[in-house]
């Protein structure tokens, strides 16, 4: 009984609506390594890059995003890692 309920709940959770790539629809939103505030949305609290299966970013923009985050890290605008 419990197991059935768990399975139902898990199914409901998995069926959450998938959001599209935030950069594809909106031409105004650009990926820029000089804007760490905008990039912060795509890294975890520890400073790791969020995988696109979580953030929903398309492959092309994930590549650009990864590049931008790495550039921002290199010039100390973003942390490589954070223990806070």
């Amino acid at each position: 009984m419990d197991r059935d309920m768990d399975r139902d709940n898990a199914g409901a959770f998995r069926r959450a609506r998938r959001r599209g790539c935030p950069f594809c629809g909106d031409e105004v939103v650009t990926i820029d390594y000089k804007d760490p505030q905008a990039l912060r949305y795509f890294v975890t609290e520890r400073g790791k890059i969020v995988p696109r299966r979580i953030s929903g970013v398309c492959a092309k923009h994930q590549r650009e995003l990864t590049n931008a985050i790495k550039r921002a890290r290199n010039i100390a605008l973003m942390p490589f890692t954070s223990n806070e």
Partner: protein, 180 residues
């Protein structure tokens, strides 16, 4: 077989560079760095198109024992040799702790490029003195004595505090009633 060589002008590309100066950099030193960059760009046949001073910023991690740095950003157009020469110069300067160059446009036509002459001037650095408090965290956690307020520290000594009589201390309870 005759080989014709056509002398093409060197390809012009657009680059942007960010360099970080020590937080305690003097105005004169920052000016010298700016002049040197200007000279190198001109000497190598390049052209500055934008210069911005972002000011003193908190770094995400310590760089050469600095927690903060003065950021300067500039864009320029030039050939392939310019970046190498510029970076060689930046590496030599002691006040520069980090720099990064990124190519923005692989081919650019300078005739169609409009540059605002005011935007390519390096700003004179005029920042308030850097007061980096390295022990702020320890102080906040109570591991070391809290910082004395400068005004109070000058005004009273320990002897003064011992010599305070009861008359010097205002009776706050009565005063409160009287005032209200």
């Amino acid at each position: 077989m005759a080989v014709f060589q056509i002398a093409l002008p060197p390809r012009q590309r657009e680059y942007e560079t960010i360099y970080l100066m020590r937080p305690d950099v003097t105005k004169e030193s920052a000016g010298k760095i700016a002049n040197r960059i200007d000279d190198v760009v001109k000497r190598e046949g390049g052209k500055l198109t934008l210069v911005e001073t972002w000011g003193r910023r908190q770094l995400s991690y310590t760089v050469r024992r600095c927690k903060r740095a003065v950021y300067v950003y500039f864009k320029y157009v030039g050939g392939s040799g310019l970046v190498a020469e510029l970076e060689r110069n930046l590496r030599m300067l002691d006040d520069i702790i980090k720099f990064q160059t990124v190519m923005i446009n692989p081919e650019i036509d300078l005739t169609e490029y409009k540059v605002d002459p005011n935007a390519v001037q390096f700003e004179e650095l005029d920042l308030p003195e850097d007061v980096e408090d390295d022990k702020a965290l320890e102080r906040a956690l109570g591991f070391i004595e809290p910082q004395k307020h400068a005004r109070n520290a000058d005004a009273y000594t320990d002897d003064d505090i011992e010599n305070i009589s009861d008359d010097d201390i205002p009776d706050l309870n009565n005063a409160k009633d009287g005032e209200s």
